[in-house]
């Protein structure tokens, strides 16, 4: 329990450190939000007036304190580009990215466990070799390329969905989920392939262990031993992988959003960096960092629940 509390505390510290770094980074890199907003209409007087309006003339430390105190109150201030509060902007976009990441996580799990089990049970024959080869191929396809292939095959040829015809979740949830299936698939496939190979190796290792032989020799049914003992133990290394996979999926969604024209956090992040829309950029990075840290924390806790030895050795 204490260990978990410690983890939570360190997670909070990490978020604070990340937010400091983000703020400092964007104060240091070149570029001026006022220039971005005024474009070719800029004159020195107009620039100065806008900088004052944006609060950019204040000293760095004061701006940082204001910003941090805003975050603590849950107020990320106002976007320069869209003249709307960053909170409502992000509240609108965050479900898109989260659903995409969760969706692909589900797809990954649904695909990888049965495939790995199937391959492990057919160890040594043609099926196992075929699975391994396909697995290797899928693993080496980066998500953005997989996304383009999926658009081409499922979208243009089979016409199962219309590439680019993104429907907002607030307008039609069914159509939204239908559209998101394919980007989620593109995001999930390489990760699923990695999970398959990890789980497969892990199952095969478990199969060799003494307790398995003992269990069989005591006359336990093959299936019972397999699912109750082997699979459960074999899953432990995979859970560590899940933590990394979630972080990867949140990051990977930024790329996939571009390929499938999905206006989620990633799209907003990229354009806001171009426009030097600091309030938006800083808020999104802090939120993504928080999501990654949170998912790692959850995995950590889950790890302890499944494998009680982890907690004990620490205390």
């Amino acid at each position: 329990m204490i260990a978990i509390l410690k983890k939570i505390a360190s997670a909070i510290i990490t978020i604070v450190v990340v937010s400091c770094l983000v703020f400092i980074a964007f104060s240091v890199i070149p570029g001026d939000p006022a220039v971005a907003k005024l474009g070719t209409q800029a004159t020195p007087e107009k620039l100065e007036a806008l900088r004052i309006k944006m609060g950019l003339n204040e000293p760095l430390l004061k701006r940082f304190v204001l910003w941090l105190s805003g975050i603590v109150r849950g107020d990320f201030s106002t976007s320069y580009s869209y003249s709307m509060s960053v909170n409502s902007l992000i509240a609108e976009k965050i479900p898109v990215t989260l659903i995409l990441a969760l969706y692909s996580l589900i797809i990954m799990i649904v695909i990888s466990i049965p495939v790995a089990v199937f391959a492990a049970r057919h160890k040594g024959d043609v099926i196992e070799r075929t699975v391994t080869i396909i697995n290797q191929v899928i693993m080496s396809i980066p998500p953005f390329f997989g996304g383009i292939l999926i658009s081409l095959v499922f979208g243009m040829t089979l016409k199962l969905f219309t590439p680019g015809a993104y429907v907002s979740y607030s307008k039609n949830l069914g159509a939204f989920l239908a559209y998101m299936f394919f980007p989620a698939l593109a995001l999930a496939l390489p990760k699923a392939a990695m999970a398959v190979s990890l789980l497969y190796t892990s199952i095969v290792d478990e199969l060799k262990k003494d307790y398995v032989r003992t269990a069989y020799s005591r006359g336990n049914s093959t299936k019972g031993v397999f699912y109750n003992h082997i699979l459960k133990n074999a899953c432990i290394p995979v859970i560590t992988f899940l933590g990394m996979a979630i972080a990867d999926m949140i990051a990977g969604s930024i790329v996939i959003e571009q390929v499938f024209s999905i206006p989620g956090l990633g799209r907003i992040l990229l354009t806001s960096i171009q426009n030097r829309d600091y309030p938006v950029v800083e808020a999104i990075i802090v939120i993504i960092a928080a999501l990654v840290i949170l998912s790692n924390l959850l995995v950590d806790i889950m790890y302890r629940v499944i494998d009680p030895r982890v907690g004990r050795s620490n205390e």
Binding site: S81, M84, G164, N172, A178, F181, P263
Partner: protein
């Protein structure tokens, strides 16, 4: 195991069911809906007085109107004002408001709204003029509730072209950036950043009402997905496809050809060595083969230009300037030798990387300059860096961009080359130019004014202020389900003219 199988089957079935439903939906109301792809979202402001980008202006064109507005022939036609008169001197402009013009919230447009909108741009009350030309306004008076009189400090017969500025509701000025209310054929409904901007035809519009009820401007940020978006029906129209994209489109689409209405050139910083020598600049002009650039970029489409003016401007455009520098490598080398650079020199051309067409132009120009010994280094920068380093900071040698006009006045293109102009980013200095320009401003006779503007253009060409290239072709992809698209000489996508094809 059974349990696991069941869960698996259920999950798969659900995912597939969700995947297959929803595919054919949303087709019923298609006849009165059009989805227009735009390359970038509105990121400056929905408030037309604060909007800066050309891409923003062309969307807002549908929502807002001025006292007058441009038509597709490049003429100013009365809009919120039903008529106007100018005194002989060009000092007092009198507008009569049109009856029955209402804002999208249903309120009638009053003279107070007009006064407030114009004073806001002129900076009367709070100092800084939003539009430089408006600082010439001395007063805005409203003698009765149908008449607005604008008095200028110095006479200006060309001032009317500024009166396309949007008229906003006086008590809604500050909310315009979040909730734009205008008088145009379409009213603003909603937006979702980086996703779309939704408009709806305004029933109370005073003029010819729009044909199509619902308009969605959909952001298509990735240029590689434009063709896919069009083919799949996700968007019905995309302004400015490349000729490569146009050739990939199926026969479901019409590709309409117009011009982009901008002056594309290798803009030269006239202050840095060796470009401060007119002979060097002329040599660069002789080195360029405009047709080769157009062939490379757009299968030969585009219009060669020779000065800071493009054909849509009609009477101001001087076609003869195109032939002042015909490609002549020997002549260019001679000029370089005269200027003291017999072996050429190194030149850095800074180009905003988000404009593919300018980058491509830069690549061809690099080869062409190499023939006269000028060794070009292309530096691709982010748009933001370009704005601060090149445009505002003027820290560059040469750049390739297109400069557009925000109003229908020749001034929109020529004013920046006056020696002390704040936006004279090429540092052009010519007393003869300043004189001709000021004479044009002071002139009250249209023919005389045109003559002086033409003199300005000629000076730009003879001084080789920039290496002028072309007014690029603009290809509009429009689904054959629609017709009626009209090109404007300014940045505008007039959706109200588009109608479903029979």
């Amino acid at each position: 195991m059974k349990m696991f199988k069941k869960v698996l089957v259920l999950t798969l079935a659900l995912t597939m069911a969700i995947a297959f439903c929803g595919c054919g939906s949303d087709k019923a109301a298609e006849e009165s809906t059009i989805t227009v792809g735009i390359a970038q979202d509105i990121e400056d402001s929905l408030d037309p007085h604060h909007a800066a980008a050309a891409g923003t202006r062309e969307v807002l064109f549908n929502i807002f109107e001025g006292l007058v507005k441009p038509n597709s022939n490049g003429e100013l036609i009365p809009a919120i004002a039903s008529e106007y008169s100018v005194d002989e001197e060009g000092k007092v402009y009198t507008f009569t408001l049109r009856d029955g013009v209402t804002f999208h919230n249903g309120e009638a447009v009053t003279v107070e709204d007009v006064k407030a909108s114009i004073e806001r741009n002129a900076g009367i009350g709070d100092g800084e003029a939003l539009v430089a030309a408006f600082s010439n306004i001395e007063s805005v008076d409203t003698p009765d509730d149908k008449t607005v009189v604008i008095t200028l400090a110095t006479p200006d017969t060309d001032f009317i072209s500024n009166m396309t500025v949007a008229i906003l509701s006086a008590d809604h000025l500050d909310e315009t950036a979040t909730d734009p209310i205008g008088t145009g054929p379409y009213k603003y409904v909603s937006r979702s950043p980086q996703e779309n901007i939704i408009l709806e035809a305004y029933d109370g519009y005073w003029g010819e009402k729009a044909f199509i009820k619902n308009v969605e401007f959909k952001v298509v940020a990735d240029p590689d997905t434009i063709v896919m978006n069009l083919e799949s029906g996700a968007i019905d129209m995309f302004p400015r496809v490349t000729s490569v994209q146009a050739s990939q489109l199926s026969d479901k689409f019409n590709v309409l050809e117009g011009t982009m209405n901008l002056v594309q050139a290798v803009y030269l910083n006239n202050d840095v060595e060796p470009l401060n020598d007119v002979r060097v600049r002329q040599a660069l002009c002789y080195a360029v083969d405009k047709q080769e650039i157009m062939d490379f970029m757009a299968d030969g489409k585009g219009t060669a230009i020779g000065s800071s003016m493009f054909p849509s401007f009609g009477k101001y455009y001087m076609e003869e300037l195109n032939d002042v520098y015909t490609t002549d490598v020997d002549k260019a080398k001679e000029l370089l030798e005269e200027a003291g650079y017999p072996n050429g020199f190194d030149l850095k051309i800074t180009i905003p990387s988000n404009y593919e067409q300018h980058v491509q132009t830069g690549e061809v120009v690099k080869e062409q300059f190499a023939k006269i010994g000028v060794n070009v280094e292309l530096e691709l920068v982010e748009w933001n860096t370009w704005l601060s380093d090149v445009y505002s900071g003027r820290q560059y040698e040469a750049t390739v961009v297109g400069v557009d006009a925000s109003t229908l006045s020749a001034r929109a293109l020529l004013s920046r080359f006056v020696s002390d102009a704040g936006n004279n980013f090429i540092n052009f200095k010519s007393e003869a130019y300043d004189e001709a320009y000021n004479k044009a401003l002071a002139s009250t006779d249209d023919a005389e004014q045109t003559k002086y503007y033409k003199e300005c253009e000629t000076i730009l060409t003879n001084e080789a202020a920039n290496v002028y290239i072309q007014d690029m072709s603009e290809l509009i992809a429009l689904n054959k389900a629609f017709t009626g698209y009209e090109f404007y000489p300014l940045y505008a996508q007039d959706i109200s003219k588009i109608r479903p094809a029979d």
